[in-house]
Amino acid sequence: MAEVIPTKEMPPGLQVENVDDRIMTLNVGPQHPGSGHMRIIVKIDGDYIVDADPDPGYVHRGEEKMAEARNYITNIPHLERPVIHDSCNILYPYVLGVEDLVGIEVPERAKYVRVIAAELNRCIYIQYWLAIYGIFLGHSTMFMWPAGDRELFIDLMEKISGARVTHAYFVPGGVRNDVPANFEDVCLRQVNYFEKRIKEYGDIFYDNPILKARTEDTGVLSREDAIRLGTTGSVLRASGVDYDVRVKEPYDVYDELDVHTNVLKAGDSYARSKVPWLDMLESCNIIRQALEKMPKSGSIRTKLKPNPKGGLDEVYRRVESGRGAAGCYIVSKEKPEPYRLKLSVGSFRNLIALPYLLKGEKLGNMPAVYWSLNYWPVEADR
């Protein structure tokens, strides 16, 4: 086969590729439900994947560029767009960072409300992800159940913030508005029912022998590789690394709550799909503790000055979102707008593991491996 030699200077990004007769190149996505809004260029030899190259960017929206033209308050609604199911957690590092820059204190009650809202949102996100994971393994019940059960918490968040998914609830200085009057009772009742409900997932999904045969020992990520590749969140904890930002670097009131980190050792697709489920059970515990310790009355927001400005400063804050550590780096230059805002998100950091996991797998196992990464394409693109 003749090798292709580029004749003139090639524009950056353009690639010339020599085709092998035996290897077939397959584009999965970007408009394929099996990949989400992302393309995975898979090279297959018969039924086995020899190479996989993730190509994100299909839903890139330039959030970081947009943030440079808006002030610290008007940035709030659009910064939660990368992952609307987890909108509280993706806003959390930004809000903490702005508070550091502007230098304001948050009332005690607001900190508890934030933690509760963040944990509710984590459950909403994980339920959505679990529904997708279920349907791609051909388990339609596992699509119906989480998609129905997450409505409980969506309704609860709607009562708090007024919106079903895009809450824009966190603001620098606290939360936007107070919780409704009977919130504690309603929340406790819903959480108890929810916990009972998701424990049943174990019987139908996680102990299912067909699921185990499909996902165990596929896409194994060793502990060393998980650390070396810089993965985060459930991918990291499924490979036996005990790391959770809520425990290691507690923000707001997480240091007053008893947070248990779920760690599994296997590092395969099954372990990666089980850790988020355990995280949901842990979230229920955290919400119950927070409801108990929350001050029953008090301020929920420290008012900012109009058009708050940061100094000549920069700040990096991180939280644990549904998909791993989410960080926000803000460079401020004494303007009402951030000079540079960078979102560092779990999906983007976990993406690097995908080519390693897919190499040598069968093509049919691709959904089981890919969705177990807890990957949200829109968040990775930002």
């Binding site: 950056p12 990004g13 353009l14 994100p56 810089g230 790391y243 460079v331």
Partner: protein, 201 residues
Amino acid sequence: MVEEHKATLTYTQLLKEDLGIFRLVPEDGVIPDYKAGQFLTIGMPVKSEGGKVVRRAYSIASHPENKKFFEFVIRWVRKPFPGRLTTELFNAESVSGVDFPDEKEIGVTYHLGSYTDPAYSKQVLALATRAPREETPNPGNDSTKLPSLRDMFYSVEFHEREVFEMLGVYFEGHPDNRRLLLPEDWADLPPLRKDFKNKGR
């Protein structure tokens, strides 16, 4: 500005089997001004790789007012575990490029965390450096270049690709400098530079 100079190795001392002191004197004998904490990229042809010039960045250990030589203290990280010591300690949380058009520079900040060392798990280490900026960028072919940290921290691979396409900072030594998020035929300015304007604003 990146300038190439030839230099002579004038002094070596082996402190341990894997640690040594090296002194370099440029061929014209002039030591340029530098600040404490800056580094030099040193290249040497390696016979085993067919005479290819291998470049690595090393921190300067001598004092900026020392105008006689550059001194380096270099530890050899053994081949079977390339960079193992540092990767066990740090993983990239984020790599952010910041454009400073007034100072004609582009800053790159690496935020590194640690999973394995409990003493560092609470902290994030920020490494910041700057590259020269050109008015009419030609990503990959102009002077906006930095040495890649990918050999040391494997996890920066996708982050550095993102900084390359968004700000036009080329990372020398990165094995895969393709576009990541932007379309392949993007011909405009790197979008996160300050002179790239949002439409309608």
